[in-house]
Symmetry: C2
DNA sequence: GCAAAAGTGTTAGGGCTACACCCATGC
DNA sequence: GCATGGGTGTAGCCCTAACACTTTTGC
């Protein structure tokens, strides 16, 4: 697109400078039971250890180079699967980072952020060079990845309010308490169960089933996500194919 | 970043495929007085005529190729100035478009969207191959630019609610009626002057001056944008340097 | 004075918050 | 029965929309 625009005065019409390389990375969020009993869940994410310079030995976001034959979102899911073996439930583009000084060589990174279902986390294989950390005290990542993770977390927290994005953490069937606990974990504050129930029921983001989860107390009704709506509204933008 | 990640199984560690080129384009919105008296203002944007294939003769978003020595936002403002001579008041990254089939050659476009002050529009030179169109009935642009424009418009409309972004259309000093008319033009619906006044006054996005605009009626107090806040909140992300 | 825009006041309704209260289960 | 989470009811508060009303100018 817009390659070699007519009115461009300089316009390197032969193409972009060949030294610029295009990477695709992904910030993947998942939940795991918190050790500390003050909160039930904490947000964790997998990072990959770098085995060469620059930033050898440091932890970095999973990712890789974009191939000419694949779209951006496809590259994100592919490189994520290759480096971590994970298949997220929700993927969305976060931002394109392209400051000159962010690496020793010139790299533009299109970063995606993703959510992992609780059941997908359990299935993950323990891979060499992949480690899971709580997002809370996560610093010292390679390149500008610290900043990227904070921005992704901010987007996640904002998106909770006006979308059903929290369901991306949950399996197909879930209770309203499950959903509320996800919100509480992401927002880092307790929510009133009664009001939370009414708020999500007033939207059409979930549909009730006639199944119940029996446990140690009164059985809770199970819900599933409303496939009509999807987890988030992206406006007129077509969803990218993975 | 994330170049040649350790755990990558394939990992073209030498770099991305050289056939992929990286373009930067900008959707610039401005206001001009509407011909039809039903509305006072209409949203317009400049497009550039293509003089070579693909899509020769069609209108396209202003843009160009990213250079190795400049950041993404800097490339956006540079190519915008080169193709249209314009210098926007507000610039924000919109999205990175990278579907394989969006052009005959493989091009990834990082698209920005921008707002032009009313006074900057007046100063614009009439350039060869640059034309201004109302966004309303704007179709038939080159590549996937139709879709991109619609998405940018959607972002602009959404952002009006929770930010002072509308001030990006206005000169340094403006009345509350000016600001309201911008909102009305973007949202395409009339707003109650009384309620609008209270809403924007309750935020700290504008600061009142002691100057007034004298005209055909009661003088209106002039306001300016609150530089402390900026026009929009981008969370933990550093503003890109242009 | 009159028209028209600037600016203030007021009221009804909806949504949100806090919290009291009942329901159904395991033990 | 009792503890615990599931689920409903409700009153106060704030924000908003609608619209009546006053103020200040040009002509």
């Amino acid at each position: 697109m817009t390659q070699s625009n007519a009115a461009s005065t300089h316009g390197a019409a032969t193409g972009s400078d060949s030294e610029i390389r295009l990477a695709v990375s992904t910030v993947i969020f998942a939940l795991r039971r918190a050790k500390h009993p003050s909160k039930k869940w904490e947000i964790v994410m997998p990072v990959v250890r770098r085995t060469r310079d620059p930033h050898e030995g440091k932890w970095a976001l999973p990712g890789g180079w974009l191939r000419a034959s694949e779209g951006l979102a496809a590259a994100a899911t592919r490189t994520l699967a290759e480096t971590t073996g994970l298949h997220p439930a929700y993927v969305e583009q976060l931002y394109a980072f392209g400051a000159v000084e962010r690496s020793t060589t010139r790299v533009v990174s299109v970063v995606y952020w993703a959510l992992l279902r609780a059941d997908a986390v359990r299935e993950r294989a323990e891979l060499e060079n992949v480690e899971w950390f709580a997002v809370d005290g996560l610093w010292g990542l390679a390149f500008d990845h610290d900043e990227i993770v904070q921005y992704a977390l901010w987007r996640l927290q904002n998106k909770l309010d006006y979308s059903g994005i929290a369901q991306g953490f949950l399996p197909e069937l879930f209770t309203l308490s499950d959903l509320r606990e996800v919100h509480e974990a992401v927002l880092n504050k307790p929510l009133d169960p009664a009001n939370f129930r009414r708020q999500v029921e007033s939207t059409d983001e979930i549909v009730s089933t006639n199944e119940f989860r029996k446990g140690s107390h009164r059985p809770a009704r199970l819900y599933r996500t409303n496939i009509e709506k999807g987890l988030a509204n992206h406006g007129p933008l077509q969803p990218e194919s993975h």
